[in-house]
């Protein structure tokens, strides 16, 4: 029982990171109708930069801010400099370019920073609180949950309450109609990519202290889990990404806790396969997803 409470609460913190990353996939999917298969590699780059900032004497918060900025910039560069150059009618060219980008970024990071794991320290203690004899969240887990909640709340406000959010949504749903209303659709697509990759960078930054450390592949499994979460949630639905992200996080933590860490990817694979075969458009999609 105590173990279950501990695993559930830890799972929520892991799930919050997953949900953030899944949300980043949803944002870019909504903006560009594409799954960014390079999201993991792109998210790790800003974390390396943040680590460089903190190890050069900068505070954790400065590193965080720099990581967000670098993430957003990288998103803009990738969208404008790469993906805009290939045909968009089918998803295939974009996915293949993303595969190439993954290879360039990951191999590039390994060449510049060396292939080894670099330890990353959390800004808060990772020792769990003790509540009535039961271990629950650590201060760092709490920090992760708060940051994730704030960011998701902020994004929700941005998309639903601001005129920029309205234009972002309109450009994603109906590009031609939006152009006819004076919305600069290409700019909105780029902004979507920037928001998405900054969010992914944040998720990777939050994840790294809980894992083995930073290496070019540090976010690969996060990507697969988040992709599963985003698909379960419907790819198009931010709420779906949130709920499914938390659920997948709890699932992974439970499987890791009760079976083994090695079994977790298998559980995610089974979940993803089941959902894709039973409800390919996810559990939360309100309407048929457009043909991707």
């Amino acid at each position: 029982m105590e173990r279950l409470v501990f695993l559930l609460s830890t799972g929520l913190a892991r799930g919050a990171v997953l949900a953030l990353f899944a949300l980043s996939l949803v944002i870019v999917y909504r903006a560009a109708r594409a799954v960014n298969f390079a999201q993991a590699a792109m998210a790790v780059v800003p974390v390396y930069v943040a680590l460089a900032v903190t190890s050069a004497g900068g505070s954790f918060w400065l590193g965080l801010a720099v990581a967000l900025a670098v993430g957003a910039l990288l998103g803009a560069v990738v969208e404008r400099g790469l993906l805009r150059l290939v045909p968009q009618e089918t998803p295939l060219p974009g996915i293949i370019v993303a595969v190439g980008l993954v290879m360039v970024l990951q191999a590039g990071l390994a060449m510049v920073f060396g292939p080894d794991h670099r330890p990353v320290h959390a800004p808060f203690s990772q020792r769990p609180f003790d509540v009535g004899g039961v271990s629950v969240l650590s201060p760092y887990d709490l920090f992760v949950l708060v940051v994730a909640a704030v960011v998701m709340g902020g994004l929700a406000l941005l998309f639903s309450r601001t005129s920029l959010g309205l234009r972002l949504r309109a450009a994603a749903f109906a590009p031609e109609t939006s152009r006819l209303l004076g919305v600069r659709v290409p700019r909105m697509v780029t902004l979507g990519w920037m928001l998405s990759s900054a969010t992914a960078a944040l998720a990777a930054l939050l994840l790294v202290p809980t894992g083995l450390g930073l290496d070019p592949h540090a976010a690969d499994v996060l990507f697969v889990n988040a992709f599963a979460a985003a698909v379960v949630g419907g790819l198009d639905s931010p709420v779906g990404a949130l709920v499914a992200g938390l659920a997948v996080g709890v699932l992974v933590t439970l499987v890791t806790g009760y079976a083994s860490a090695a079994a977790a990817p298998l559980a995610v694979l089974v979940l993803l396969t089941a959902v894709l075969l039973v409800r390919p458009h996810g559990l939360f999609a309100t309407r048929e997803a457009r043909t991707a």
Partner: protein, 362 residues
């Protein structure tokens, strides 16, 4: 709507079966003869490239003709490799137990049984994935196959027969006595690799130029129209995936013969992406391009190793295993941006480029 990724313009009219077999036989003989020109290490590389070629041929057919991208073909190769290794070992042990391990039968039986095992294993996985492929579009299938690659070590760790990260070993196939005086073991393995690969690729050529290929292109171009013409798109996509999986499985068997070892580490995400690189560089849909791509992904890492070996230790250590990956990534991006047809289109010249813009009218 098909774009850069098709190259139906390269499809020949249906080739008569005899001509096809003749051509395949000729090419195979040429390749077998070519092994005499190579030293043992080159023959080892050739055998490896042949195994990769089989898998890339399957992948390029799948992507080029049906527009479905699999990022997990390494796992299908691994399935073939495990199927080969487990079956061949079992049969070899049985033969040894009954004292019949000597002679040509003792040599060929485990090999053939292993190949059947490889086909069964990769075919079964291919059917499972094909069922998914029948219902899924681009990013979903790519994501699912990616999750599969990531989960391979878990699967190997969970299924006892696969022996975890260590992997399983495949029986060594020695040079038959009759040939022992003539060729070295590397060349013999290259022969086996060439024969197996031609068994994998020839059916793909027939498939592509035949009615099945036509149906795949129809489904790729316009699923609704294909459906109206009485084609079941799900069945076509699933069938394409299974055919592709079988070829990849044979490729896995080849690598198991050559390396006598199958482990999850050898079939990770990096290798899987290399298969995609080989297919893209050669030109999606082009089987000849797949051969070129396979040779490239086999040779370039070796060349880079040679080049970086001369560098200072620290720099060499950093570049090793990474420089070629970065180069491959750049090449893939450049090919997709500049010449979506890959090398196949480059070789055939500019006239084919027009098919890119007009292929909606086909």
């Amino acid at each position: 709507m098909s774009t850069a990724t098709t190259s139906p313009a390269t499809s020949p009219a249906a080739i008569p079966a005899t001509r096809l077999l003749l051509r395949a036989g000729l090419l195979t003989l040429l390749a077998l003869g070519g092994t005499f020109l190579l030293d043992p290490y080159r023959n080892y590389q050739l055998a490896t490239a042949a195994g990769i070629f089989a898998a890339v041929a399957g992948l390029t057919l799948l992507v080029g003709l049906t527009g479905q991208l699999s990022l997990g073909h390494a796992v299908l190769m691994a399935a073939g490799g495990y199927g080969y290794a487990l079956t061949a070992t079992r049969v070899a042990d049985a033969l040894a137990g009954s004292g019949a391990a000597d002679g040509v039968a003792g040599l060929l039986l485990p090999l053939l049984a292993g190949v059947v095992g490889a086909l069964v294993a990769s075919g079964a996985l291919g059917v499972l994935l094909g069922l998914a492929a029948a219902r899924l579009r681009g990013p979903y299938l790519a994501g699912l196959t990616l999750a599969l690659v990531i989960a391979l070590p878990s699967v190997a760790g969970t299924v006892p027969a696969l022996a975890g990260a260590q992997g399983v070993s495949a029986p060594f196939v020695p040079v038959p006595d009759a040939l022992a005086a003539l060729i070295a073991v590397e060349q013999w393995h290259a022969w086996l690799a060439i024969l197996l690969t031609s068994c994998a690729v020839t059916p793909l050529v027939a498939l592509r130029s035949g009615r099945a290929g036509l149906r795949m292109r129809a489904v790729h171009d316009d699923e609704t129209a294909a459906r109206l013409a009485g084609i079941d798109p799900g069945r076509v996509k699933a069938g394409a995936f299974v055919a592709s999986a079988l070829a990849a499985g044979l490729g896995g068997a080849v690598l198991a013969v050559v390396t006598q070892q199958v482990s999850p580490g050898a079939y990770g995400l990096g290798f899987s992406l290399l298969l995609v690189v080989a297919a893209v560089v050669g030109g999606l849909g082009s089987l000849g391009g797949a051969a070129v791509g396979a040779v490239l992904v086999t040779l370039l890492p070796w060349l880079v190793d040679q080049a970086t070996g001369a560098l200072p230790a620290d720099l060499g250590h950093r570049l090793q295993g990474n420089l070629e990956i970065a180069l491959f990534g750049v090449v893939v991006i450049v090919v997709m941006v500049l010449r979506p047809g890959g090398l196949a289109r480059l070789v055939r010249g500019r006239s084919r480029n027009t098919s890119l813009s007009t292929n909606t009218e086909r």
